[in-house]
Each structure stands twice: as C-alpha cells, then as structure tokens.
Symmetry: C2
Subunit: 149 residues, 2 copies
DNA sequence: CTAGGGGTTCCCCTCGCGGGAAGGTCAACC
DNA sequence: GGTTGACCTTCCCGCGAGGGGAACCCCTAG
C-alpha cells in the first residue's frame, strides 16, 4: 500500500503521515525498490488508532506515550482512562473560562452606547474596558483561532 | 522611558513589545544615543490599548486593523462592535463543541468497563471508539494545549 | 576593576500540520 | 518513442504569539 492509499483509507493527508513518521509516532515503513513507502494493514490500524485518539482530544505526545506503553508490554488502558479524565477536567476548565469571557463581552456589548466618547484616543469601547481578569485572555485566543479554520 | 519600564507599567514583557514593533502593531520608537528604544506616554497608551483589546479576545491582526482605521481618521467603534459580536458568536460555537466533546468523553469513560478486551491490539478504550464527529477534533486541541500552558 | 542590571540583535522552539519547490517514477495514451 | 498526468521523494517556510537563550554593548555602584 502506498502512502496516498493509506491516507485515503484512514482519512488523513500524506503530509500528516510523513509528519507522524518524523516525530516517531509511526515506525519507518519498508521501502519499495523505487524508494516509495510501503505500508501494510498493521500500519493502517496504528494510524487509525492515532486518529481516533486525537479525535478524543489527546495530543500527539499523549498518544505517543500510550503507544510506547503498549510497545513495552503494558496495557495502557488505565493510563488512557486517566488521560480521558484529565481531558474532561480540562474541558470543564475551558468551559468555565469561555462562559466568563462571553458574559464579559455581552455585558460590554450591551453597555457600548452608554460609554461616553470622552477622552478616548482610539476607541471608547476598548479604552473604557480596563481588561478582564488575566485568565480570560487565554480563553480568547482559542476562539479567534477558530475563525480562520 | 526604556522598554523595560514600559513593559512593567503595562504588564507585558520586553519580548512582546519588540514583537509588536516587528509586526507593525507599535511604531518604531525614537532611539537614544546608545541605541536604546525611548518611549513616551502615548506609547504606553497604545500598548495598553493593544493589551486590553487582546484580553477581549481580539487577535493581533484584528487589533492592527482597528488601529489602522483610527490612523486613517475613521472612528473604529462600530467596527469593534462587529468584532465583539463575532467574538461572542465564536465563543458560542466553541462552547457547543466543547460541551459535545465532554459528553462524548463522559459517555466513553462511563462505559469503559463494559468494553470487551476482545480484539484490541493497543487499547480497547480507544479502539472501541470509532471517532466522534470530525468537528469535535478541533475542539479537543484547544483543551490539551491548556494543559501545558 | 569588576559585578550587576539594563539594553541590542539574532536565531531556534512551540503544535500539527499545509503549501509549494525541485525532482524521480510509473502507467497510459498518441 | 515521446508526452502527459498522477503519483512519489526530500526540503524548507509559514502559521499565532511570543519564550528562551546566545553573544554582545552600556551604564552605574562599590
């Protein structure tokens, strides 16, 4: 199986496959005489595993750890369960941040017309705001990144 | 005012200030005889503006547009209002994604013990899952990035 | 004279790839 | 046999928003 076919079957790009190989997430495959990567069904399974784990929110580093555990003969299920729990906690934290952020923004938007133009040098909307708590700033970055995707 | 003092007053690092200058968000400041950047109060105001806008979730590119509008003589408040509304919508989308993601994970976690070890080659927890809907994958990445920060 | 705390430029690192260049390979068609 | 087009290869650059650190300059206090 060539890299393109593998990618099509699993639903990832050839770029992604080469990248995974580069960071050690996938083993270096056998090469055909012409230098092309040659994959078998076990590579498809592993790549599908990576993709699914990623869709569960695990980072590639996390996934690498799981695969390494398994490679060392340890059943990684308990480890994975811990990761998922941490993942759920992380989502909870992020939800709280985003809710607070949204409330802040909604309050600001509702109050825009009441803000006096006054001494603003650029924009009264922003200059009237003296910054929400710092931990909200990190929530915001994830949002605007969503816009370009 | 030297760069360090400006950073301290506004609460950003000197790295950040130089970075903003590099991408054109802050103007190139006057230089003292020794080559040091020399800032005035107007620079402090502009930097504080950038910081506040960023805490509201605007990207540096967005902020640059606002500053450019203002530089062109246009009052950017309406523009900013639109950005804030879009920001609020974006947060709503992200909240929905995260909630769905969390539910998916919670369901999975609750059902782990019912998953038969069966034919799993790495981890039954992940291999039993056949991937949540694709749009959830993007929600996950924001979560795990929160962990290392 | 030396220590220390400023400042300066420069380049590499993040995370998960995507885009594209420059080139080799293969099957199909004229 | 030549040519097209779809594959494949390696390589480097880019994203957002800076952080870390090297190598070096400047200034002051002891």
């Amino acid at each position: 199986m060539l890299i393109g076919e593998l990618g099509d079957r699993v639903g990832v790009s050839t770029k992604t496959i080469r990248y995974y190989e580069g960071i050690g997430l996938l083993p270096q495959p056998r090469r055909s005489d012409n230098g092309y990567r040659a994959y078998g069904p076990e590579d498809e399974a592993r790549l599908a595993f990576v993709k699914t784990a990623q869709q569960l929110g695990l980072s590639l580093e996390d996934i690498g750890q799981v695969l390494a555990l398994r490679g060392a003969g340890t059943a990684p299920c308990e480890h994975v369960r811990g990761m998922l729990r941490e993942q759920i906690r992380g989502i909870g934290r992020q939800l709280a941040q985003l809710r607070a952020m949204r409330e802040e923004l909604q309050t600001l938007e509702a109050a825009i017309d009441q803000i006096p133009a006054g001494e603003a040098t650029v924009c009264r909307v922003i200059e009237h705001t003296r910054g929400p708590r710092q931990d909200l700033a990190s929530a915001g970055s994830a949002v605007s990144s969503r816009r370009s995707g």
